[in-house]
Every structure is written in structure tokens, then in C-alpha cells.
Symmetry: D2
Subunit: 270 residues, 4 copies
């Protein structure tokens, strides 16, 4: 009665693209203090047999920036000359509790096809050089070698190799390679619905667009002009190891009303 | 090259089972203060053309209990006579930063088939009476009428109708109908991997197991004895409206290391 | 060698004017979620004899609004036509981390004389009627009966009686009596350096200045025009019981850089 | 009518012994993430002339450990063989919301005489060597040179010189000099009611009591055996500059129910 594709999906191999979350994981300086979990109620606290029988309960409290760990950037996260995607002036949109429009609660579940371009592997490296800028040529060449294309509607994932360093020195991770302006334009021209990388910010840390002076050109172009979401801090190691370049991509950002992003746990299924 | 079932999946209808998240949404008294989002950096704060060109960035900070909004309970959330699932004594497992084992980071992505039993609709009501306890007979009768079965490995969702009241009076929502002991046993016997409902706690508020004196019998039985996850505060209204009883079920709790639960955005695809 | 007044001070009777702080204490709706303390590290967590010998340590985490509990309002807390005290336009002053000027870190320690006007007692009531507005006449009459004056430089405390209801029903406390416009003007004309009351907001809840339409006239007038600090949620019960109308007043707001207020524990010494 | 000593107090010179509080100030590793303030409501958000007239309001949210910045340690902060001061077993005392006894809300306002021993200045240094342990002999010799005694009931402050480095490199501050075991015993024998220093922890970082193996011997001895409070992260620079060795000491920890410490703003008056 239910569709037969579900049976196939149930036998698919699942790749978990989320990095683990813990106090001490790398955090972008703009998003400190980042992440903190405190176990609050413990089992002995609530073990009251007269009240609850043999049952007890434990729980905790999270303090976290919405841009901590593996996450998605909502469109309202960035502005261009103080206008959001679609031209909305920021001054009309900001409230203490978040944005009136384009908050992360407006992002649909991402249920699509995904493509991985393993630029790091393509170049025969275990990790790209610090602050290396992945160019359009890198992406073209990598796609050709892998034998894949990036048609419209895809989620495009790019591997720098820094995902393997998530639990290491924070500064090394913060200085990761990223996607340069030409690489971002290449992705946008292909009509992808989202891009992602295994680094802190998709973009190359510190790179500046010579035309506008913008830092984080990808953030500016993708979020404010193209309406393309950005996924950050992905773990692409297993996909790369298995040379899995194409897959079903599933990710569902949480609907924090008005927030500028959301942690998520993206999955690739093959 | 990629599996053909993905094409079918891409044309599926997607049901979003997550309730919106906002300060003021219903919170279980044990999990106050619940949820708070503060927009922190605003666009004008970071609009510094000399430094960043035309680009500016906004972001915020979340304070939230892991059991706020639509969420999944990890196995360590409950204990039975101070032992977790598998018999682990709680005293060895708790740390300030969370549990050593059975934390929510150990929950695999839920990629499975799901079944909805719309008990509320089956009884011809828009919402079940406050604190009504859904019995095994209710579930059997509902399944028969709907023409569905609940084989092992499924995610079983039960509708009380209270999901429609998420944005209303908190106390009304807290006093929702739930699944009684017999209903929980019925579900567990079927070998489901997770259960969920459109109320705060799956269980009937205030109900007590006559045998052990336990409150929240479902929490006790499912999490500590059966290893079955519980999903809470689901929105099942659209599924019920469309009489969509069987579907692909997708949900991916975040890997908060050591935490006792995680917010998530479950999806049903048909 | 050290001044002899200190000896006298050491024998003074000390009145503690701070209300206790706990989750569930009354919070102004604008300052929710208000206050939350989670014990985080517990002694057994850090009891590691090989590492620390017999010593262990416990500590917790606070989430709180700076306007929770007994606290002082800094001048930047209020604006008049979008200008702070001294005419500073708000747009130049706000940053994600707080105000550039007039933050609570600029408030000097309050070491002065204080005067209590027990309007509630003067009227022979245990608590003033809900939302009663204390007028200039009330203050004049109360001061005359008590035989006190309010010269420049004093801290003026006004008792409504609601301090006794701190641990009771939140809504009753939120609907407390307060100081009306004429009462605020009376205080300001006397050149006091700070005012305070045993209610949530000094002002009368809901009262509107007929001239400007301003709510919370006292906040507007005292903080943005006069540079007079406001103390809220004081406990004045013991002072009143002992008919202690004049005293040394000591209070030291914390220097949270850029914040709009600070919790404090004011003392009266006689 | 009011005591004449108050007039003298009002003309006293006030020394502010609190360090400024800001994100990025030094935090003990055990108390991370430490301190965070987010401006939340801004003036334009609440500037609604139809509702509030010309008045607007701004406020923020604090996330902080109670042991951040200048603060006092409550007795429950430490345990000795899992017993608190007075022999209370920790297991009976801990709750999710804090300690049942000996929480910081039980600390009386500190209104007393204080003595500063400027060991750093006494040794002719601008700052003591990293991890230098101040001995009983150092304190005796310093007191003799300064011509002061430390009678019972005093608050004893010891200067290492590291208070001047509060806004500098965190690691330098964390490696400050401190008071060694013999220095702690010297202080305790004198019957002081509280001790304090211009470093993170009073004690010498890393020092171990040869008898019990305890780290932070001062914490263990003073809090669990003697009931003497500890003040940390003081700013003693101005007192030392003015060679002000004796003074009235005033400090009032906040009454966070059940918490293990409190930020405060201590004052010295002469």
C-alpha cells in the first residue's frame, strides 16, 4: 500500500554527516561562548519511590549559539548593504526574539540529491593547505575526475579534509581551507539549493572579494543574492573514504522562530 | 548511477511533524525555563564597510532544555531502580557534562517506516478528553478501522488531537490525553523502535502503574526496559487530515554528547 | 590608626534589603525567562583522591536577566525619544555586548544616607491596594508623620508592603502599588541620587503620563532626564517593623560591562 | 538623629575592589564558559509611541558561572572526604537547584575591618613570579614591615600583583602566584572571617599538600574546616598604590539560593 521506494530506502547505507557536539568543540570567534551542556537533574534527585515508584528522570540544559557545530545558515544570517535576500531592509526585520522573515523556521526540510566533490582527495592530499582557496577550476576538475555533474536542485558538498580535525586544535580547524569566490560562483551558477563544506564557514578565512571588499563572499552571494543555504562543519570523511559521490541528501533544520540558523544532523543515503 | 528509489523519494509528499519553537511554547514543569532565543548580533552591529565590504552578519543565542519542543528522549533520560537500560547503575554514568553511555549522541538516525494511529479521529473527536488514557483496545480498534498493522521495526505515532493546541493555553496542553499502561504494552509488544505522540509526554499525566506505583509508565517501560525511544510534542494534524496512516519516517536527533534528549524535526514522506 | 567611625559601623545593626533569588520568583514579563540556576559539577564528580586528595568541588551555572530579583537600573536602561541621559542617541550606543556608555559598570558604589517612607504603614495598611499610585501628597504626609526630611544626596526608599509577598503569587506581586507621576516628581525635586521600592518597577503598573503618554513615567524621568538610579524588588519589611526611617545605605551593583542593570544586595545600617 | 559615624563614612575614600566583567575575562577552566552578556531588547524594539509614549527600554541576558569574575566562595563549594563544613554529607545536600544548606544565600553581608598584606610590594616586585607560593614567613614579614596586625574578625587581603593583569593574557593570570599551605594556616590561625587575593584561586596553582595530597589546600582548609570565606579575583592595585593597609571592608554576596558562590563588588573605605 505504501510506496515501494521506501523499502529500498530502508536498505540504503546511511552516512551521518554531523560532527559530535561537546563543550570545547571548535567555535567561530563571533559565536562564542558557543556550546555548553550542563546535566541538571540527576536520577537520584528524582528517585522518590513514594511519589514515582521505581522511576527516576534526568535532564539538562543547553546554552548554545545557533551557529555552533554542524549547522545551516538561514537567509537572514547575512545582509548586503543592510538588505536581506529579496531586498528586505534589516531595520524592519530585527526583533529581540529574532527576524520577522527569513528566519530558520522558514527553511523547508532538505530532501534532495546530493553531490560530493572531494577536492582534497582529488588533489591527493589528506587535508588541503591552511586557508587554501578552492577555485572554480578545482571544482570542475574534481567533478570531471569523479565523473559527476552538478545539475540544478542538488545539494553540493565540498571536502577540504578538515572535518577529520574537528576534535583537534581549534585554531588549525579555524584556519581551514575554504571555497574561494570563483568556487562559490561556480556553485551558484549550477542552481544548487544548498552548499556545504567540512570547515567552519564554507568561505576561505580572511579572503576578500576584490570587487566589493566583502569578506566571506560566499555568505554574501549565496544567502543574500541567491537564496542558497550554507551548511557548515560537516563530516564528509566516510563519504570520501567510500568514494560515494552521489546520494540522497536529507537534513531538517529546527524551526527556531526568527533564528539565523540551526544545528542539524544531515544524512546521506545510498 | 545513483539508486532509482531516490527519484521516487524526491517526488514524495513531505509532512513536517515538528511544532514551531518560540519562547512561550508549552514546557513541562520539570523542564523550565524551557526555551529562550535572544537575537544578539544585529546587522548594523557588523556593518563595517571598511572591514567587511557590504556584508553584515546577525546571530543569536539559545538557552534551552533538551526536552523542549518536539524532541526525542534518549535512553539515559529514565532509570528503573536507579539503573539505566541494560542495567547500568546511574551512579557510574552521570557526569557534569552528561552521561557516559546511552546519551542522545548514541541514537542512530531514525530512517524507517512509520504508522499513525489516529485515535482521536477514530473516536470522532477533534481532541480527546483531558487526561484520557488511550488503551490497548483503543489502539487495536483504531488499527483495524484504519486497516493498518504495526509490525516490528516501525515507528508508531499516536494522535490525541492536542497537537492542534500547541500555540494555545499551556495548561490545556499539559493536561492532554496520553497513552495508558495497556497502550504502552501493546506498542512495546509489537517491537516498534520508537513511539511518539502529539502531547507532552506520551504517557497520561498523573496516571500511576498499579503494580509498581510508577508514574509515566511508558517512560519507564520503553526507555529502561525495552530500549524504545519516545518522541514528544509531535504535530500530527496534517497526516491525520490526509488520512495518511503509513509513510517513510525520518528523524535525526542531534548528537549532544551525554545529553538525555534532543529536539528534532521528524518528517513523514509518502 | 584607622578611622574610629569604623568601630561604630561595626556595631551597627544591619538590614538586608535583598529578596532571595530562586527559580520561580516574580519576574517582569519583559524579562522572562528571568532566573535559573543549575547545579552542574557535584562533589562526587570531582572527588578523585589520586588527583585532588580528599578535596572535591561543586559549582553551577546561572542564566539570568540583569533585571531579575532585587536590582538597580542603569541609566542606559531607558531612553526618551531614543536618547539616553545626556542626549546620547541610542543608535550610536548599542552593541551586541551592551552599551558603550552609561552601562551599569559606570554606576559608582552607593555609599550614602537613606530614608524610608513607609507609605503603607502610614496609611495603616499591611499592603497598599493593587496598582495604587502613591502621590506627592502621600509622600509629604508620610514624611511629616515620620518626622523625616529628604535632603539632596539621599537614597529614597518607599514601602508599598508588597515586599512581603515576594514568595507568593506572581500576579499579585506584579500588580503591586507603585509611585505615581507626582510622587516621582516629588522625589526628583529633592535631589535624591537613587530611589527604590518594594515592588517590581517603582512606577504604578499601567499608569500613563497624561502629558506625554509615557508608561512608567518614573523610569523615563529619573533615568533619562535626572540621572537618578532606580532600585527594584527591595525587601523593606524589617526596616518598617523597626520604624527605622534613616540609615546608612550601602549598595554596590556589579560591573557587567555595558549591561542595563545589575542585581545587588543593598544594606541599611543603623 | 541618625548615628554620627555615618557622616564620617560618607566622607571616606572608597576603593572599588571588583574587576570589570566582560566576555573574555580570565575564567578558571573548571568554570567555562564563564561569562556572557547579550544585549537582547534594544531601544528601537520597544519605541512604540502609541503604546509607551516617548519611552523605550533596553535589557539583556546574562549567562554566567557563579565563580566568574570577582566573587566569593560559599562553604558548600568545597568538601572534604565528601563532607561539607560541619560534617554534612554531600549526598544529602545536593539538588538540581543547588545545596540545601551552606549555599551562598546563607553568607551574611561582610561588614568588617580589612587588612591588606601587599606581599608583592613588600618584595619590591611589580608582580610575584608565576606560581610563587606565599608563605607564612612572607606574611609575617610583610605585616611587620607594614606595621599592621591581623586580629580575629578581620578580612585578610593578600596582594600578588596579578590583579593588574586582569585584562591581559588569560594564561598568565591563571598561572599567578598564590598563598601556600603555610600562608593559609597563618591566616586561619588568626581567626579571620574571610580571605581574598588578586588571583584566580587564593591558592597556588598546582600546589599539593604533602600530608593529604590535596590540591588547593586553602580551599579545603578554609571552607570545609574553618568556615572562612574566600574572595577571588580582587583588584588591590589602588589600595597598594596608596599604601592603604587597613580599612573598613564591605561586601554583600547575592543570595542565589543554593549556589556555591556569588559575584560581588567589595569596597574598602578609609
Amino acid at each position: 500500500m505504501t510506496p515501494s521506494w521506501i523499502d529500498s530506502m530502508l536498505t540504503a547505507r546511511i552516512y551521518d554527516l554531523e560532527q559530535p557536539r561537546f563543550a570545547g568543540m571548535p567555535i567561530h570567534p563571533a559565536h562564542r561562548p558557543g556550546y555548553f551542556y550542563a546535566l541538571h537533574r540527576r536520577h537520584r534527585d528524582t528517585f522518590l519511590p513514594n511519589q514515582h515508584g521505581p522511576r527516576s528522570s534526568a535532564s539538562g540544559a543547553l546554552t548554545m549559539m545557533e551557529h555552533s557545530g554542524t549547522h545551516l545558515d538561514a537567509l537572514c544570517h547575512q545582509a548586503n548593504e543592510l538588505r536581506l535576500f529579496g531586498g528586505l531592509p534589516v531595520d524592519n526585520e530585527e526583533t529581540p526574539a529574532g527576524f520577522k522573515h527569513l528566519g530558520v523556521e522558514t527553511v523547508p526540510p532538505l530532501v534532495s540529491r546530493g553531490v560530493l566533490l572531494d577536492v582534497c582527495g582529488h588533489k591527493g592530499q589528506s587535508v588541503l593547505p591552511a586557508k587554501y582557496g578552492i577555485t572554480a577550476d578545482d571544482l570542475t576538475s574534481c567533478a570531471r575526475t569523479q565523473g559527476v555533474e552538478v545539475p540544478p536542485g542538488r545539494v553540493l558538498l565540498v571536502r577540504t579534509g578538515y572535518g577529520a580535525l574537528w576534535c583537534g586544535e581549534e585554531q588549525v580547524y579555524l584556519d581551514a581551507a575554504g571555497v574561494s569566490k570563483s568556487g562559490t560562483l561556480w556553485a551558484a551558477e549550477r542552481g544548487v539549493i544548498a552548499v556545504g563544506a567540512d570547515n567552519m564557514a564554507w568561505d576561505v578565512p580572511g579572503e576578500r572579494d576584490p570587487d566589493t571588499g566583502a569578506t566571506l563572499f560566499g555568505h554574501l552571494h549565496l544567502l543574500t543574492e541567491k537564496g542558497i543555504y550554507i551548511l557548515e562543519n560537516l563530516n564528509l570523511e566516510d563519504l570520501a573514504r567510500d568514494r560515494c559521490w552521489q546520494f540522497a541528501f536529507l537534513a531538517a533544520p529546527l524551526k527556531f522562530r526568527g533564528a539565523t540558523g540551526s544545528p542539524l544532523r544531515p544524512l546521506a543515503l545510498v
